[in-house]
Amino acid sequence: MSTRNTNRNLAKRQFVIIGIFVAICAIYLLKLFSIQVLDKTLKQSADNNVLRFVTQYPARGKVFDRNGELLVYNEAVYDLMVVPGQVKEIDTTKFCQLLGISHETFVENMAKARKYSRIKASVFVSQISKEDYAHIVEILHNFPGFYFQTRTLRHYPKAIAAHTLGDIGEVNKSELEADPYYKMGDYVGKSGIERFYEKELRGRKGLKVVMVDVHNREKGSYLDGSLDSLPVAGKDIYLGLDAELQAYGEQLMHGKIGSIVAIEPKTGQILAFVTSPTYDPNLLVGRVRGAHYNELLKDPMKPLLNRAISGTYPPGSTFKMVNGLIALQSGSIVPATQFRCNGPGSTPIKCTHHHGPSPDLANAIENSCNPYFYEAFKTTINNPKFGGIKEGYEYWYQMTQKLGLGHPFETDIPYEKSGNIPTRKYYDKMYGGSWNSVTIRSLGIGQGEILVTPLQLANIVATIANEGYYYPPHLIRAFGDSTAIPEKMTTRCETGIERKHFQVIKAGMRSVFEGSHGTARGSKIPGISAGGKTGTAQNPHGENHSIFIAFAPVEDPQIALSIIIENGGYGSTWAAPIASLMMEKYIRGYTERPLVEKRMMEGVINYAVKKKK
C-alpha cells in the first residue's frame, strides 16, 4: 500500500519537472525574441542592404639579389568581381561595351560564376589596368553585384633568372584542396622561389566587411569593422644570387643549350643559376601568361626546362676528382702512386690525351688520363681491406653519397632531379650477381650509368674548394624581417674525406689552367689563380657535351662553378672559356679579355644541323 501511495505522491513531481522544462523553453524564447526581433543592431538586411566581403590582398614580398638589387616587385591591377545573387536586371549591352567584352563572354562568365556560388564573389574579368579601372569605376554603381578588388601582379625589372624566380598563377583545384587558405582566383607560386617561399611571400589576406545599399554603393564598414582584419604584407626575400653575374651568364650562354651553376663555397649560396635557352619572366605575368606559357611549352628547345636541376648528364672526366678523392681516402693510392698509360692502346679504357707514360695523381688530373682513374677506381673497390669487390663498391657508393651525389639536396629549389649513382643491388640484378671492376669500368671515368645534375657538379667543386665539406646549395640569403633561414641550409655537411687529400686534388686542378699540358691552359685568367677540370660527356644522340668545373681564387675560393654546354664538343672549346669569364667577372667585377668575351657571347651552336649528323 505504501508503494502505491508513495508512487501517487511522487507522480506529482512530474509537474515540477515539466515546469522546469517549460520555464527554460520560455526563457530561451524570450532571449530569442530579444535578439531576433527587438535588437536592431544585429540586423543587417532590413532595408535590402547586403554585406560585401572584400578580400584585402596583401602585397606579396619583394625579391632582391645579394647586393640589394630589386629582382621582383608588385604592380597593382584590378579584378572585377561579381556576386551572382546580387546582380539585378542590368543593361548588358552597355556593360559589355564598358568592359570591352562580347555578349557571349558575358554570358559565359556569368554562368561560371553562378556555378561556383550564388552568394560568394568570383572574378568576372581579371587584371584590368589602372586606366581602364578609373574609367569603369565611375559608372559601376549602375551595375549592382559588381565591384572591384585590388590585386597585384609580379614585375621583373631585370628580366633575368626566370626559372629561379619562378612565377605565380591562379590556384588550381588540388592547391585549393590542399590548403584552405586559398580561395578560387587567388594567386599562388607555381615554380621557383615563388613556389618554395610561397608561405613567406604571400603574407596573410585580410577581410573587410562592408555594407552595400541597393544602388551598389558602399555604406561603410559593418559592425564598426569588428569583423575586419588587416592584410599582413609578405616577407621580402634576399637571394644569394648576384644579379650582374646572372645577367652576364645568361648573355654568355646565348645561342647555346646548357647551364651554369655558380656557388659561394663558404655558404652554399647560389651566385648564378643560368639555364639556356631562357625567357623573359615578364612574359608569364597577367592575362598573357596562358598564351605565352603555351608558346614556351611548344618550343622544341624547351626553354621552360631548368637544365641546372632537371638536366642530368654523365659527368665525364670531371668525375675523376671524385674517384681520386675516394681512392686517396680509402688508402688505395697515395698522391705519388703511378699507373701505366699506353695512350690510345690502353685497355680496357684507352687514353685520348698525350702525356708521359706513368703519370702520378696531379699529372693525371692535369692531363685527364683515363687509364689512371680507371686503375684508381679498380684499386679502390678491389682493396683487400673491404673483403670483396661488392663491399668495396659499397664503400665507394657511400662516399659518393656523402659528396652530395645521387640524391637531391632538397633545400629551396623545387623540382630538383636526383641524378644517378648505381647501387650494388642494381648491378647484382643486371649481371645476375657476377660483375667486377672491368664490368663497371666506365664509372672510373664518369661514364656509364652515372648521371649528375649541374647543381650537384657545382657542389662537388664547392666541396673541393672548401677542402672537405659543403653547405647544401640554396637560393635564400635572408628574409627581409631577419627571420633565420632554414637550419638545413646552414648545416655543414662533412664528406668524411681528409683535408690533405683535397689539397692534392686542388693542386692538380690548378695545373689544368697553369700546367704546360693543362687542358684549360688557353682559358687562364691573367692575375687570378684558378683550378678547374674539363670534361667531355659522351652523348649517343649527337656531338658530345662540353663540361667544365672550376673555382677561384685557389688561395681563398670565392666562387665554384659548373658549366655544361650541350653538344659543345670538348670541355675546353666552350665551357672552359665561359667559366673563366664568369669567375673573372665575379671576382674583379669586369673582365680584361674582350676578345674571348665577344667570341663566347656571339658563338652560336647550330643544334638543328648537329642533331642530324
Binding site: 522544462f21 526563457i27 526581433v37 544585429l42 561556383y116 552568394i119 559592425l223
Partner: protein, 424 residues
C-alpha cells in the same frame, strides 16, 4: 500476448513520432543549407554533409524500426549487458581512440566511418539505471540502492570525462531528474543547491568575493532571525546550507583559476561579459548571435542565409546548427523548433506516467532528462546563455553517432509504450 507485427504501427505513439520526424527533417534541411557555401549541389549529393546525413538517417530509421520489432522485454533483460559493452568501448576508446579537437572520443573504422561511444553511453546508462530501479524492492530511500544508482551514473560519466569530452560528461547530470521523480531523498534539494551554486558562481565572478560575503551574510542574518523568531525547526540544516555557500564562494576563485582549463575559463568570461573578444574566444558566440539575430522575425528564407554560409559560424552543421535555423527561419523558426522540443519532452513525461512497468517509466524520465540537457546547453550556447560546450542538438545536428543514439533511445521508449497494454 506477443507483439503483433501488424499492429505495432497502430500502437505506437504517433504524436511523439511526428515531432521526431519533424525535427529530423528540419535538421537535414538545415545541414544542407549550412553546407551550401560553394557551388550548387543537390541535398542528396554525397559530397555534401546533407548527403552523408541522409545515409545516417536511413540507418537510424532502419535500426529504430528493428527496435520496434524486438520483444519489449529485450532491453530490460539485456540492460546490464548493453551497459557493460558500452563501458568496455569507453575504455577502449581511451586507449585506442582518435583525437578530434582535443577530445579522444572516436573509434575510427577507416573509410571515413567513425563512431563515438560516448553518444551511446547515455543510452546504456539510462537502460541500466531503469533496469536497476525498476526492480520490485529498489526504493531509493535505501542507502544501498542510492549508492548503486550513483555508481551506474558516475562510472560512464567519469570515463567520458577522461576522454576530455566535458560536454558529454555534463549530460550525465540529467539523471538528477529521474532520481527526483523516483523519490530519492534530497534530489530536490540537490537541484536547488545546484541552481544556487550556479548563481553564486556567476555572481562571485561578476562582482567580487567581498560583495558575495556581504550578500550571503545579510541573507544568513535575515534567515536566522526568521528561524529564531518563529522558533522553526531544522536550524542545523539551514546553517549547513549557508556554510556550504560560504565555502563555495572561496571555491569559485580557486576552481575558476586552477580547475578549469584556459579555453573553458575564457568562454565563461566572454559569456559573462567580463571579456570583449569578438575575434578570439568570443568569436563563435559573437558570430552565432549575429547569425541568429540577423534572421529577424520571419527569417531570410530557406537557403538564403548569408552569415552561416561565409564560414563565419564555425561548426555550423554540427554544434551550431541552430544558427542556420535562427537565421533562415527567423524567430518563427526558432519558435517552431523550441516548441517541438518542448512538446516532445512533455509528451515523453506524460507517456512515462502512463506506463505500468517501473522500467518503462524510469526509462522515459531518463531520456527526457538527456534530451532536455542537450537542447538546453546547445541552444543556450548559440544564443549566449550558456558557455560554449560542444554537444550536439538532438535529431538536428550533423553526425551519425548522435542521430543513431537518439533515434534508438526514442525507439526503445516508443516500443515500451506500445507494449504497455500487454502488461498486466
Amino acid at each position: 500476448m506477443t507483439t503483433d507485427r501488424n499492429s505495432i504501427i497502430g500502437k505506437v505513439d504517433w504524436p511523439l513520432l511526428l515531432m521526431f520526424f519533424a525535427l529530423v527533417i528540419i535538421g537535414w534541411l538545415s545541414i544542407y543549407s549550412a553546407g551550401l557555401s560553394e557551388g550548387n549541389h543537390a541535398i542528396y549529393e554525397m559530397s555534401q554533409f546533407s548527403g552523408k546525413q541522409m545515409i545516417w538517417m536511413a540507418a537510424s530509421l532502419t535500426l529504430g524500426f528493428i527496435v520496434l520489432l524486438l520483444d519489449a522485454k529485450f532491453f530490460d533483460a539485456f540492460a546490464f549487458w548493453i551497459y557493460a559493452i558500452v563501458l568496455f568501448l569507453l575504455v577502449f576508446v581511451l586507449v585506442y581512440g582518435k583525437a578530434t579537437k582535443g577530445a579522444t572520443s572516436w573509434i575510427d573504422f577507416g573509410g571515413g566511418v567513425k563512431f563515438q561511444p560516448s553518444e551511446f553511453a547515455k543510452l546504456a546508462t539510462a537502460l541500466a539505471l531503469s533496469h536497476y530501479l525498476g526492480r520490485q524492492d529498489a526504493e531509493l530511500t535505501r542507502r544501498k540502492n542510492r549508492l548503486v544508482s550513483y555508481a551506474i551514473i558516475l562510472l560512464p560519466a567519469a570515463l567520458v570525462l577522461l576522454q576530455n569530452d566535458t560536454g558529454s560528461a555534463l549530460v550525465f547530470a540529467s539523471f538528477i531528474f529521474v532520481l527526483y521523480r523516483e523519490g530519492m531523498p534530497g534530489a530536490g534539494a540537490i537541484m536547488l543547491l545546484a541552481v544556487g551554486a550556479i548563481a553564486v558562481f556567476v555572481f562571485t565572478l561578476i562582482w567580487s568575493r567581498m560583495v558575495m560575503f556581504i550578500i550571503l551574510g545579510s541573507l544568513f542574518a535575515l534567515t536566522l532571525t526568521y528561524y529564531l523568531l518563529n522558533k522553526k525547526k531544522g536550524i542545523g540544516k539551514m546553517v549547513a546550507v549557508f556554510a556550504f555557500f560560504f565555502a563555495f564562494v572561496f571555491f569559485v576563485d580557486f576552481a575558476f583559476n586552477h580547475v578549469l582549463e584556459d579555453h573553458q575559463r575564457t568562454r565563461i568570461e566572454v559569456l559573462l561579459g567580463m571579456k570583449e573578444d569578438p575575434k578570439g574566444a568570443g568569436y563563435n558566440l559573437h558570430q552565432s548571435k549575429i547569425a541568429i539575430g540577423s534572421g529577424g522575425f520571419w527569417g531570410k528564407g530557406f537557403l538564403q542565409g548569408t552569415q552561416t554560409k561565409y564560414d563565419f559560424v564555425p561548426e555550423q552543421h554540427t554544434d551550431f546548427i541552430f544558427c542556420t535555423i535562427g537565421e533562415e527561419g527567423g524567430f518563427k523558426g526558432s519558435l517552431i523548433v523550441l516548441l517541438l522540443y518542448c512538446g516532445m519532452l512533455v509528451r515523453i513525461i506524460r507517456m512515462a506516467e502512463r506506463q505500468r512497468l517501473a522500467f518503462s517509466r524510469i526509462y522515459g524520465y531518463c531520456i527526457a532528462g538527456i534530451i532536455f540537457v542537450h537542447v538546453a546547453i546547445n541552444i543556450g550556447m548559440t544564443i549566449g546563455l550558456v558557455p560554449v560546450i560542444g554537444i550536439p542538438l538532438p535529431f538536428l545536428s550533423y553526425g551519425g553517432s548522435s542521430l543513431l543514439a537518439f533515434t534508438i533511445m526514442l525507439a526503445i521508449f516508443v516500443k515500451q509504450d506500445a507494449n504497455r497494454l500487454n502488461i498486466l
